[in-house]
């Protein structure tokens, strides 16, 4: 965590971090970094601090992963820019979220952040047109696949060629906004975004981009350290350009975002040292549901994964106002989604008919919820960053 933090946090704890590196088990460290998908960035940083002689295997693996991620990321960037150019030419407002664009702007090297796919936010009204534009690049809009709580947020486009990255066209990025059914914060952010100087879509305002990253982290159940690390790196790059309490304006415009934003920001402060109190009024994170959601988050991606805890985190952060939407997304799933979910590798081997699974799924979730609520959840790790 010390090596994943923002620059101020790392600087304050450098001596302690160096001491800890002296007693680390290299094999366990490698395996943890691979699981957290931080081998390239955090692994490279650890090797730079401790020296290659201390961690020869980690150095080798981090270097190899960085070279591979760079080659992979460059192809993704080529496709992302081409897609954004075509969307712009078609008159569709579109902006990149995360992905190679973030890697280049924030890390300055595509090799330091391996991306699984491309995320592009578009106007909800132009979603079908945007899919049509991507089809000119050979993309295919097949039936919805993947997690049902995400397929409500985007259309996933695949390509017959393995080299072409998967593209997710988002018309919204979360379901917490009061206007979520018409795009929510993503749409508002798109309206405020400024054109990219090279004609490659739009660039979100800094405050909007940070809010969207925090909400994506919240929506996913606040798992792992990867997004907090992105947010820490983002803070290092852009933090000084933000006004005071930059996210408060967004919360004032839509108070439903207070708990998810404050909770995600407070957890990021705890994990990677970003100064949450300078971003927004932090008190909503201290509400019961905010605190419980933070406790259920799994910073080190415990094995087996706490899928249901992530589901519960999503429900807690949405609150009463989004109960119906939560139930539809996470509990009362359609048959297509149930079939997709339970054919995945991490699903139980017992194959029940889809209709039975439809009934069984919400019951299982409710049992998990009761178990999580009843068992003493460990607090997320906390480091005193001494941020003043």
């Amino acid at each position: 965590m010390m090596f994943a933090a923002c620059a101020a946090g790392r600087a304050n704890l450098l001596r302690r971090a160096e001491q800890l590196l002296g007693v680390c088990d290299e094999r366990k460290l490698c395996s943890l970094l691979v699981r957290l998908r931080l081998l390239e960035y955090v692994g490279g940083r650890m090797v730079a601090t401790a020296g290659e002689g201390r961690f020869p295997q980690l150095a080798l693996r981090a270097r190899g992963a960085t070279v591979a991620a760079r080659a992979h990321g460059e192809v993704q960037a080529v496709v992302q820019y081409a897609a954004l150019e075509r969307l712009t030419k078609a008159g569709i407002r579109a902006a990149p979220l995360k992905g190679p664009d973030l890697a280049l702007r924030v890390y300055g090297d595509l090799g330091l952040r391996r991306c699984a796919d491309l995320d592009i936010v578009v106007d909800p009204e132009r979603l079908d047109d945007a899919v049509g534009v991507l089809q000119t690049l050979g993309y295919d809009s097949g039936p919805p696949a993947g997690s049902p709580w995400l397929t409500e947020l985007h259309r996933r486009l695949t390509h017959r060629l393995a080299v072409m990255p998967m593209v997710e066209i988002h018309w919204r990025t979360e379901c917490y906004s009061s206007e979520a059914s018409t795009g929510g914060l993503a749409r508002a952010a798109l309206e405020r975004a400024v054109p990219d100087v090279r004609g490659r879509g739009l660039q979100f305002r800094l405050a909007d981009e940070l809010a969207l990253l925090l909400l994506v982290y919240a929506r996913d159940g606040m798992p792992g350290l990867r997004l907090p690390v992105d947010i820490a790196a983002w803070w290092d790059r852009y933090g000084s350009q933000l006004p005071t309490l930059p996210l408060q304006e967004i919360i004032d415009a839509d108070p439903r975002l207070a708990v998810p934003l404050a909770t995600a920001a407070a957890l990021c402060e705890r994990l990677v040292g970003i100064p949450a109190a300078s971003l927004l009024e932090i008190s909503p994170a201290r509400s019961c549901r905010g605190q419980l959601a933070a406790r259920l988050s799994s910073a080190f991606l415990d094995e087996p994964p706490k899928h249901s805890a992530a589901t519960l985190v999503d429900g807690l952060l949405g609150g009463r106002a989004t109960v119906l939407s939560f139930a539809r997304r996470r509990l009362l799933l359609r048959r297509g989604h149930i079939a997709t979910m339970y054919r995945r590798d991490d699903a139980p081997t017992w194959r029940a008919p889809t209709r039975l699974l439809q009934v069984q799924h919400p019951l299982r979730q409710l049992i998990y919820f009761a178990w999580y609520m009843g068992s003493p959840a460990p607090r997320p790790p906390k480091i005193e960053w001494s941020l003043g």
């Binding site: 960037a77 496709v79 820019y81 060629l161 072409m164």
Partner: protein, 90 residues
Amino acid sequence: MRSDRYVKVGTVLSEVFPARTVIVDYRSGAVAYLNKAAGYVWEAVQSPSTVEDVAAALQVQSEISAAQATTDSREALANLERRGLVTRLA
């Protein structure tokens, strides 16, 4: 005799990064990573260009001799053509 002209194929996407130029053909799946010099050749074939045009552009950018630029351009164009990333116009 008039030289052949070369141009990039229509299904190719490309981007210039600080260290290299990356080309992706979304129809065939071919990917090429070009060094700086080959990147200049690629820039030249964004519109139809003869070997001489390409060599002239390469010579200006790389500050090499005319003969060397012509040899390098021929080699780079042959390579790109073999991978199906540029096409020769009659």
